[in-house]
Amino acid sequence: MAPATEPAGAVARLTGLVAALRDHGFGIGTGETVDAGRALEAVGFTDRERVREALAATLLHSELQRPVFDRVFDLYFPLGRADAPDEAYGNTPAALAALRERLAEALTAGDGAALDRLAAEAVAGFGGFGSTPGSDGWSSYQTLSRLRPETLLARVRERLRTAPGPEDPEFTERLLDDEIRRRIEAFRERVRTEARRRVAERQGRDRVARRAVAGTADSVDFLLAGRAQLDELRRTVRPLARKLATRLAARRRRAARGEIDLRRTLRRSLSTGGVPVRPVLRRRPPRRPELVLLCDVSGSVAGFAQFTMLLVQALHDQFSRVRVFAFVNRVDEVTGLIARGAADPAGLGDRILAEAELTGWHGQSDYGTALGEFADRYAEALGPRSVVFVLGDARTNGADPNLAALRRIAGRARRVHWLNPEQPSLWGTGDSVAPAYAELVEMRPCRNARQLGALIGRLLPV
């Protein structure tokens, strides 16, 4: 509950914040900015959390934008400077031990204000590097690797167990470790925020807001996403699937109305004296497509393939049949693994690699061999109603692309779409044979979850 900032300069801050959010692709109109100003006027500046909520309510349109907003907000409306540590920490083992001790204390108590203060002190004391202006800065990584808050787990657990309080029923004891881990992770996030704020002070807020704040989960590049981001992305699978399902259902509803059914129209016209007042349309029988997914699950593109598999799994009732094949340089069917994987999406990739036979004598992806094997062994999966999605970057590691195999696949299936997680400007560079494949089947860039959702919604036949 620290004071946010003085009203003077608030307008500049607000417009700066809005500009930074727009840079992240948020559609914020002038009307909303004006509303945000009125909202700030209404809630005042005494309570920083209220300022945050007021801006979020007026500027945001979906929860997905919230993490980015929070990080940008922390830059433009930082905790007041009054919170800066009074005593400067010497970068000594003794100081470090003292700080760790106080951190354990605060984690035990779960005291948010104290943790904020400690994060500020930690970055100030142990996060600075460099000494010449221009090359110096603040690093959350350095702070955290010196402070190692995760090693405090045992200490905090011990204190919580012996703490006087309402006697702890033994059952909840088993939750303790996870709870402490979550508290520690929250503290690490505080440190990151603080480091960003200090860097922003040095380098100018606008620059940091643009560069150091990651975008919303669905705009993260599949090839660049780290583990945490993929986890976050995984949580968007279900909402995305729901959204796609309604879109597909609506399209199907519209497409089900066919041409005029003459017999039934005449029949109905009897009640109006032979005048066909209401024509009857023939309804097409609903026919759902069969989907075949062929995924490269080798290192670099595995995140993309997994996300797509989960999405297809969540959408399974939109298809009459879904079959999923994975390959590195050998192909194996993993449909069963995906169905079981619904409960544990995080372990999906490992399980596929462990249980399916995907590699021959080497671990590099080889599209030519894999496509050839697929066309030979699983030809029965393809038919006039099947739509094939191939997922991969088309990097063959120098091996023969085997265009004939892809041609055979395209010849048997109704449609083949290739989704490539690389940007088109890279296609054909190095060992990529994307252009050759793109001549045979439709190849589209698909770099983030937003694009994937749009593509699947558009490409699937009704």
């Binding site: 809630v43 209220r50 007021a54 979020a56 309402p166 909840t172 939750l175 996870d178 959204k243």
Partner: protein, 289 residues
């Protein structure tokens, strides 16, 4: 133009609390803003966190009338806005034999033959009103077009009568489970509030308030277990209403503390999928369910 229900954020929080709705700072701030700026409030969030309850609580503290439009697939203009009472119009035409057509025509499209539906009712009301548009995402896209005029300017155009503008702006709450993406245009007209799961402390207060008679230590344990379940990757994590259900169940069973057996037997109150139950049991170290 404000609806003028509240004087400050603290005022919102205190008065809502008095009716049994404990608002997080985010909720209190946004409700205050919706009131002060006179804008509709779009509330999103998982099922069972109190989106509809919020509208009801505001109604209660302000002594306003609650007008509710429940959306569903196929809800249309005549269900949301107004309808002409055709039967009555026909009666009027048959009754008034001998007068000229012009007279009849001006007469049958008057107030008397108008059946107001929720949106029109809320706009025309002279009393303070809370308009709740529930589960907006269930309605078809066309209905959103309808809402744009109503929520943008708080007015409704009836071709035969002209434009009807709100005398008193209703305090408007739209709820959505995000099962369909609402249009950008609609979102722009609204303040946005996402109600997620409450903080541990707040949830404990909610449980204690809703389930009087529950032991404090047990309430703490209940909230901790629910918190642990939410951190797991489940198909459907328990929400606040399920926490309360669980607390009530425990109270009814006379359990005064959590142990393995009680949790195992009552996990079905919290989790609604068998695979979730199996998974949670494994993570919580329960013996086979």
């Amino acid at each position: 133009m404000t609806t003028g229900f509240f004087s400050s954020v603290d005022d919102v929080a205190e008065r809502l609390a008095a009716t049994g709705y404990l608002a997080s700072p985010a909720v209190a701030t946004t409700v205050f803003l919706a009131d002060r700026l006179g804008k509709p409030l779009l509330v999103e969030g998982p099922a069972g966190v109190g989106k509809t309850e919020l509208a009801k609580a505001v109604t209660e503290v302000t002594g306003a009338d609650l007008v509710r439009l429940q959306c569903y697939e196929g809800v249309d203009e005549s269900r949301a806005l107004y309808e002409w009472n055709h039967a009555k119009q026909l009666l009027r035409i048959t009754a008034g034999r001998g007068e000229s057509w012009d007279e009849t025509r001006t007469d049958i499209f008057g107030e008397e033959f108008l059946l107001p539906r929720p949106l029109l009712t809320a706009i025309r009301s002279e009393r303070p009103t809370v308009l709740l548009i529930d589960e907006t995402d269930k309605a078809d896209v066309e209905v959103e077009g309808l809402l744009l005029e109503v929520l943008g300017d708080f007015q409704i155009t009836v071709p035969e009568l002209g434009t009807i503008t709100a005398v008193r702006r209703p305090f408007t709450v739209l709820t959505s489970n995000a099962s369909r993406e609402l249009s950008e245009a609609l979102r722009r007209r609204c303040l946005f509030l996402h109600i997620g799961f409450p903080e541990e402390e707040l949830e404990r207060r909610i449980v204690t308030l809703k389930v009087p008679g529950l032991d404090t230590a047990l309430a703490t344990s209940v909230v901790r277990v629910v918190g642990a379940l939410r951190a797991m990757d489940l198909r459907k994590v328990p929400s606040v209403s399920e926490t309360i259900d669980w607390a009530r169940t425990l109270l009814a069973l006379g359990a005064d503390r959590l142990d393995e057996q009680v949790v195992r037997e009552t996990l079905g109150v919290l989790l609604k999928h068998q695979e979730d139950i199996v998974k949670a049991a494994a993570k919580l170290d329960l013996e086979a369910v």
